[in-house]
Amino acid sequence: MHVSTRNVKSLCRKQGLNLNQVLDETGVSRNAYYTIARKACVLPKSIVAIADRLGVSPLDILEDPGSPNQRATRLIGEVNKVKSHYPEVDEENVRHTLLLLREKPIDRLRRALTHAQKPDIH
């Protein structure tokens, strides 16, 4: 699993950008980029080993959280699904629940306790 510099350049061209622009905007140095590009595998050895043991590609055990837009779209889809099952639910309650379910239980608890201490939060 390596970086395809050809693909990167091709994508840059399609979007009317050059590589230097992209590196500048993302704060990635040319040195860092070419160091990564030279690597035969950019994934940690542990991930490759687990995938090998399971007989799958490393891509099969990775999950892409998606861009903020994709995450928001997914959330809206889930809210709509809930609404289709239970039309009477309040969308805000559903949205907040779904967002909280993406956090660890301990963080949900801390959030509930922290907000209870702030009288300006309703």
Binding site: E78, K81, V82, S84, H85, Y86, V89, D90, N93, V94, H96, T97, L98, L100, L101, K104, P105, I106, R108, L109, R110, R111, A112, L113, T114, H115, A116, Q117, I121
Partner: protein, 178 residues
């Protein structure tokens, strides 16, 4: 106002000690609902014990520097100490079956490196319905919507969110989810 109410290692260590002592307890109330994703706020963590006289509770308290204050005619039983101020003792859950029966409705929720017994959201809702204080009524819609959200995404019908489950004497405990 209590200080340092955010759940820290001190509070976690009390729960861990209770588990180590094999004390029969479960987290109930809005903190239990929050642990299950309900968007609610709460000031304390309610712990429902099968038997408050269990020696393990005192031992767990001692290890975290807390103490037990027995009930009086005017006050309920309480925990005292920096590491346990956040916890409230629950001696009775309105609208629910006995502790032993409600254990069938407990989920094991990971809290850092250990799991704690937490009463299921559907049973918390039943208890809130039975208690029916103003503050319970205010939070009911949020709890029900939260339960429905989770139910809809699991693609299973949510009977508990539609109609009240049997409560009190003779109530049959719901089977735990597989």
């Amino acid at each position: 106002m209590r200080r340092n109410q955010i759940f820290t290692e001190r509070e976690a260590s009390f729960l861990r000690e209770l588990l180590r002592e094999k004390v029969d307890f479960m987290i109930v109330g809005l903190s239990a609902a929050a642990l299950q994703g309900a968007p609610v706020v709460t000031q304390d963590i309610d712990l429902w014990f099968r038997d408050l006289c269990t020696p393990g509770i005192r031992r767990a308290l001692r290890r975290v520097g807390g103490s037990y204050i027995p009930p009086t005619a005017m006050t309920p039983p309480m925990f005292e100490g920096d590491g346990v101020n956040l916890f409230d003792i629950v001696v009775h859950m309105h609208g629910l079956a006995a502790f032993e029966k409600e254990k069938a409705n407990v989920l094991q929720v990971p809290l850092g490196r250990f799991k704690v017994p937490v009463l299921s959201l559907s049973r918390i809702i039943e208890s809130k319905k039975a208690t029916n204080r103003e503050k319970d009524r205010l939070v009911m819609k949020v709890l029900t919507d939260s339960l429905r959200s989770q139910s809809a995404l699991r693609k299973t019908p949510c009977k508990a969110a539609r109609r009240p489950a049997p409560t009190g004497r003779g109530a049959s405990p719901r089977r735990p989810r597989p």
